[in-house]
């Protein structure tokens, strides 16, 4: 059986990739995918811990299912907003969207 630590390390690596994607690029789609990676890192934590620590009470599994469903809803709204942005500006780089200024 794969030890629990491997899952934690995988989750931590995914979290790192997600945060790197968020700080390094300005493309809204890339940022969005980076956020999805962070959410999935959290899901791995929840599911693997549930399996190893308390397999009889499925709280972590339930939580992961909820968060997958919610991430899908968020993706629907988020992609719609990004598509409208592209139609209006022909551009999805958030650093090049500069209508709002102080």
């Amino acid at each position: 059986m794969i030890p629990l630590l491997d899952y934690i390390v995988l989750s931590a690596i995914l979290f790192g990739i997600g945060v790197y994607g968020l700080v390094s690029k300005g493309n809204a789609l890339r940022l969005f995918f980076a956020i999805e990676i962070v959410i999935n890192a959290a899901n791995i934590n929840l599911v693997s811990f549930n399996r190893y620590i308390s397999a009889s009470t499925p709280q972590g599994q339930t939580f992961a299912l909820f968060s997958i469903a919610i991430a899908a809803a968020e993706a629907a709204v988020g992609l719609a907003i990004i598509i409208v942005t592209f139609r209006l500006n022909k551009e999805v780089n958030v650093f090049k969207l500069r209508k709002l200024k102080s």
């Binding site: 959410i39 929840l46 811990f49 919610i70 990004i82 958030v94 102080s102």
Partner: protein, 505 residues
């Protein structure tokens, strides 16, 4: 957790409130799909739903609908004072926003879906303040956030509204993701997701993994910090509030932001008081409070756009509220809760009055506000009142809660006198830019003297908000009593739960 027990302790009132609002939202969607798209109908339905919900919550608070019990067992919802206090604040904001949206949406298509989304955001906020389970907090958090992304970008053809929506969506989705990661680490440490169960001794056996606890704490602080617009995480606030339709800015700055303080109180005071998390988060909160106040108020001094000034003022007020959290006493929480109630009406009133004026003069620049005092009747008076209240002028409600906040910092066992001094200095600085808007409205000469139109919806909303501001200012007793009952009952929950814990040095 056995699933039949999932809803135990969930009495009728929160269930009714949620159901009434959900039914109202679906009726609005149904009517609009049947071709009945009149804004007045949608406004009427949503305001009616909000008013009935507010009446139910107030009935419970005033004791007509039975006593308010504490959190029950491992239920995912709590029926305690804190949820009712925040529920009342949220519903007042939603009523005011719905009343003024009727006219504000005159030239924007799909008004009925606006109201449905407004109701869904309100349901999410109300559920968020009732939740005691981390799973439920996350679900309600997203139910509150996702419709608000759409509301922010509701002017679909407008580039500014769209840019605001993209920025708000990306930052806020990142906040949810980081919060979820923090929650998953809390689950890793404690093996449960119920906040009040984490306090029980059986689940605190896994204590001693301090580095993970610190990580979990910092992720949760970051997630909440973004939503509460505390300062290192505030960059998106001015853009989002300026670009969004201004009535939505009122909802974002007062409703959803205010609602986020409730789970913050639960998580930090209850969960992080647990033995696995004996971490010093008060200092982090004191620093966040200091940074938010200072950056918010000083950045507002240099702005030319009224919505941006109000956005920075919202950041500053988030800082004031965090003073009470940092103080860590029942008195501090009383002050915070009192200020949240006041801030909800003050900030909503300011944003709504600004929304009306901006819509009529066409720009949100300070110069466009010149002489508005002579061209409109109610909006400038309401804006002046709410700005004075935000600045903390004596007979208005903002003054009392600020006094309470600064006094709680001085009286805190953590020696936060410096925070009180910083808060007082910030209060004086903030008066400068609040009065600047008032000066532009009343002293400067207008470019034209033609009267500007004020619709009845806006008038009713602004008059209600002004009456609450003045009424609470002149007679603050009952509201202070409400906040104080909330804070003391919240603290008695913590102490009655945590005395069973093994003390960790």
């Amino acid at each position: 957790m056995a699933f039949p027990a999932f809803f135990s302790g969930f009495e009728a009132v929160p269930l009714l409130v949620t159901m009434i609002m959900a039914v109202a939202a679906f009726v609005i969607i149904l009517l609009s799909s049947l071709g009945l798209r009149a804004r007045t109908v949608s406004t009427g339905i949503s305001v009616a739903a909000f008013v009935i919900s507010l009446a139910l919550l107030l009935g419970k608070v005033l004791g007509y609908l039975g006593p308010i019990l504490g959190p029950q067992g491992n239920s995912v919802f709590a029926q305690d004072w804190i949820s009712y206090l925040f529920g009342v604040a949220i519903l007042i904001v939603s009523i005011l926003v719905a009343l003024s949206s009727e006219d504000f949406l005159a030239n924007i298509p799909n008004a009925s879906s606006f109201f449905a989304l407004l109701i869904f955001t309100t349901i999410g906020s109300v559920l968020l303040v009732f939740s005691t389970d981390l799973l439920m907090i996350f679900v309600a958090w997203e139910l509150m956030s996702i419709p608000s992304y759409v509301l922010t970008g509701f002017k679909k053809k407008d580039q500014e509204s769209n840019e605001a929506a993209v920025k708000y969506f990306l930052i806020s989705a990142f906040a949810s993701a980081v919060l979820l990661y923090g929650i998953s680490l809390i689950y890793v440490i404690t093996g449960t997701t119920n906040i009040y169960q984490i306090l029980s001794p059986a689940s605190s056996s896994a204590s001693g993994i301090t580095p993970i606890a610190v990580l979990a704490l910092s992720f949760v602080i970051a997630g909440f910090g973004i939503k509460l617009s505390a300062v290192p995480f505030h960059m998106w606030i001015p853009d989002a509030y300026q670009g969004a339709p201004t009535v939505v800015s009122a909802l974002l700055s007062a409703g959803t932001k205010g609602a986020t303080f409730a789970p913050a109180a639960r998580i930090f005071f209850v969960l992080f008081a647990g033995s696995a998390f004996q971490t010093d988060w008060s200092t982090a909160f004191a620093v966040l409070a200091l940074l938010s106040m200072t950056v918010g108020n000083f950045a507002a001094l240099t702005q030319r756009s009224v919505t941006r000034i109000l956005a920075y003022s919202s950041i500053g007020h988030g800082g004031y509220i965090l003073i009470g959290f940092a103080a860590g006493t029942a008195y501090g929480l009383t002050a915070s809760f009192f200020h949240i109630l006041n801030y909800a009406t003050m900030q909503t009133c300011a944003f709504l009055a600004a929304a009306l004026i901006i819509r009529e003069v066409g720009k949100d620049d300070l110069l466009a506000f010149d002489g508005v005092g002579r061209r409109m009747r109610i909006a400038p008076i309401a804006l002046t009142l709410s700005l004075l209240a935000l600045g903390g002028f004596p007979p208005l409600n903002g003054f009392w809660s600020k006094v309470f906040l600064f006094y709680s910092a001085i009286g805190s066992p953590l020696n936060l006198g410096w925070l009180a001094i910083a808060g007082i200095i910030n209060s004086f600085v903030s008066i400068a830019f609040y009065l600047r808007i008032v000066k532009h409205m009343y002293v400067d000469q207008p470019q034209s003297f033609s009267k500007l139109f004020e619709s009845n919806g806006f008038r009713v909303a602004l008059i209600i908000a002004s009456l609450i501001i003045v009424g609470t200012g002149v007679y603050p007793g009952p509201v202070i009593q409400f906040a104080s009952t909330t804070a003391t009952s919240f603290f008695s929950q913590i102490s009655s739960a945590s005395h069973v814990l093994p003390a960790i040095p």
